[in-house]
């Protein structure tokens, strides 16, 4: 290090070396500690520092501090290739929070447990509950109280129909694997584990198709009530296995196709302001 005359203040060359990032560790540390105490040198230093660089450092610091930390769900979604933006849109509803998933899992475990210990009745209960879990998820993703900022969201250019489908896809992705795992643990043929899948998809698409007309809470409630009534009647009169039988499967497929067609042909209805038909 070249020896320069010491004064009470840092000289121009020392300040410039620090500003340009070429001061060695010893000089850098001593000038920095002097700057901490000396307002006059700080003012001279200001003129030597690149403002653009400072601004970019400052905004990077703010970005790190202010930008919201992604939740566990959002990080998981990222792992599955969902963009950070879509992840943000997904976690805004109750269906994407821990409480809902725990509830859904508990309901399935209960029904699955019942099927293990009280075969006939329990099996009927599982076949009743499993297809309804994703339907309830849809209600929790789009029902009246599900999105407290609904009034604002609906007035943005983002398609409400697209948002609904995005959230539905997330509900299905989280609830179907749980139901399938519980189903695999049941006695009886292995296909029972997925026998509720087509009815489940049919009920979800029915709820969605009716949602623009009556609201998601009413539509999913009506679907759940109707299926429960059918399931209870069938298991009282006949064999609970009929709930997974060919009649139900074919019926569900037809319903599913009709509902999906309705959604596609009426897609613009999701974006309508209240009161317009």
């Amino acid at each position: 290090m070249t020896q320069q005359p010491r004064t009470w203040h840092a000289n121009e060359a020392e300040l410039r070396a620090l500003a340009d990032g070429v001061a060695g560790p010893a000089l850098g540390a001593s000038v920095e500690s002097h700057l901490m105490r000396c307002g006059a040198c700080r003012a001279r230093m200001n003129d030597l520092v690149d403002g653009v660089l400072l601004d970019s450092v400052w905004s990077a610091i703010r970005e790190t501090v202010e930008a919201p930390r992604p939740s566990v769900f959002e990080r998981l979604l990222r792992k599955f290739g969902v963009s950070a933006e879509s992840g943000r849109l997904l976690v805004a509803v109750p269906a994407m929070r821990g409480a809902w998933l725990i509830g859904a899992t508990a309901a399935l475990l209960f029904a699955g447990g019942a099927a293990l210990f009280a075969s006939g009745f329990g099996l009927a209960l599982f076949l009743l509950v499993a297809p309804l879990v994703p339907v309830m998820g849809v209600a929790a993703a789009y029902g009246g109280d599900a999105d407290p900022s609904h009034e604002l969201v609906v007035t943005t250019p983002y398609s409400a129909g697209r948002l609904l489908l995005l959230r539905t896809a997330a509900v299905l992705a989280t609830s179907l694997p749980v139901a399938a795992l519980v189903g695999l643990a049941l006695p009886g043929p292995a296909w029972l584990a997925v026998a509720w899948l087509i009815p489940g998809l049919a009920f979800v698409s029915l709820s969605l198709a009716a949602a623009p007309f009556v609201g998601a809470t009413v539509s999913s409630g009506a679907v759940a009530a109707t299926w429960s009534a059918i399931a209870i009647a069938v298991s009282k009169i006949g064999d609970p296995m009929d709930l997974a039988g060919p009649a139900v499967q074919v019926g569900s497929l037809v319903l599913c196709a009709a509902a999906v067609t309705t959604i596609l042909t009426h897609f613009r209805l999701f974006d309508l302001p209240r009161g317009q038909t």
Binding site: L89, P94, L152, V154, D271, P273, Q276
Partner: protein, 289 residues
């Protein structure tokens, strides 16, 4: 060129009419909407913000019809809306909520979006609480979070339903600054119960009562309608529509002034009270007749 044109606008909730025969043209600048509770202010703003569809009449915003899909989308791309009430998704921070709204407003580039979110959060004076959860903020701060999201992307139409509710005098002064700056280029419609906000900000004032427009003109025009109808006296005058004792101990009477009283300059509030009061009397007379 008017950015908003409403013709014969009508809206009912069941049988109760909320708006009847509203004709309005709005262009850039700040327009204040005054009226008693239930006058139809929020209904009118919700229709402008494409949150509610009209039952009758025509709505054109930037020449677009909100009843068609393409028109509605075009309006929503140029709109900033502060609803009278809105909840927040659980767990979001102030920054996180404004960022969420910016995503919905098609800001897909993360760096540009975050820079814009920082700008509007700063405008709404929320930088210090940007990382706090919305549910931990005060009522006034939450109101400003909603205001911040309305300002995203410098919208051409700003629809603000009671933006000054819950703000202290300094925050209100700051809000006036933001809104008057925005009003230089954009069309702003604000509803409020605070006549002083209208007097301070708006070049134009619209008074709604029972779903109809009863005054549409300049603030000065509304004030001058009350000239000679406000006076000071030692007592409450029996004929006054409203009277209150002011700080000096004298009574400020608002109504039809008798002869030989000390008439004073009316404020916008006096004029508004008289307009709504006169309307109520007319309605009473009609009912009696």
């Amino acid at each position: 060129m008017s950015s908003v044109i409403l013709t014969g606008l009508g809206k009912r909730y069941g049988r109760a009419p909320a708006l009847t025969g509203v004709d309005l043209r709005l262009s850039s600048g700040v327009t204040g909407l005054l009226g008693p509770n239930g006058a139809g202010k929020t209904t009118l703003l919700r229709i402008l913000a494409t949150a509610l569809a009209a039952d009758e009449g025509q709505v054109r915003v930037f020449g677009q019809n909100p009843a068609d899909t393409a028109g509605r989308l075009a309006i929503r791309r140029r709109l900033g809306y502060l609803p009278q009430e809105s909840g927040f998704p659980r767990g979001f921070t102030a920054f996180g909520f404004v960022d969420y709204m910016a995503i919905l407003k098609e800001w897909s580039d993360r760096a540009a979006r975050h820079a814009e979110v920082r700008r509007v959060v700063g405008l709404a004076d929320l930088t210090a609480v940007a990382t706090k959860r919305v549910h931990a903020l005060s009522g006034g701060q939450r109101r400003r979070v909603l205001l911040a999201q309305a300002l995203i992307g410098r919208p051409d139409l700003l629809v603000l339903d009671e933006p000054t509710t819950g703000l202290d005098p300094q925050q209100r002064a700051r809000l006036r600054d933001i809104l008057s700056t925005a009003g230089e280029t954009a069309t702003l419609v604000i509803s409020t119960h605070q006549t002083e906000d209208v007097a301070a900000l708006c070049e134009r004032v619209i008074v709604l009562d029972q779903g109809r427009v009863h005054f549409d003109g300049s603030v000065e025009g509304l004030i001058s309608s009350a000239a000679g109808r406000v006076w000071l006296a030692t007592d409450r005058h029996p004929e006054a529509q409203h009277a209150w004792r002011i700080g000096t101990g004298r009574w400020r009477n608002v109504g039809d002034a008798p002869a030989d009283v000390e008439v004073v300059d009316p404020t916008l509030e006096d004029a508004y009270l008289l307009l709504v009061g006169d309307r109520a009397r007319e309605t009473e007379k009609e009912v009696v007749a």
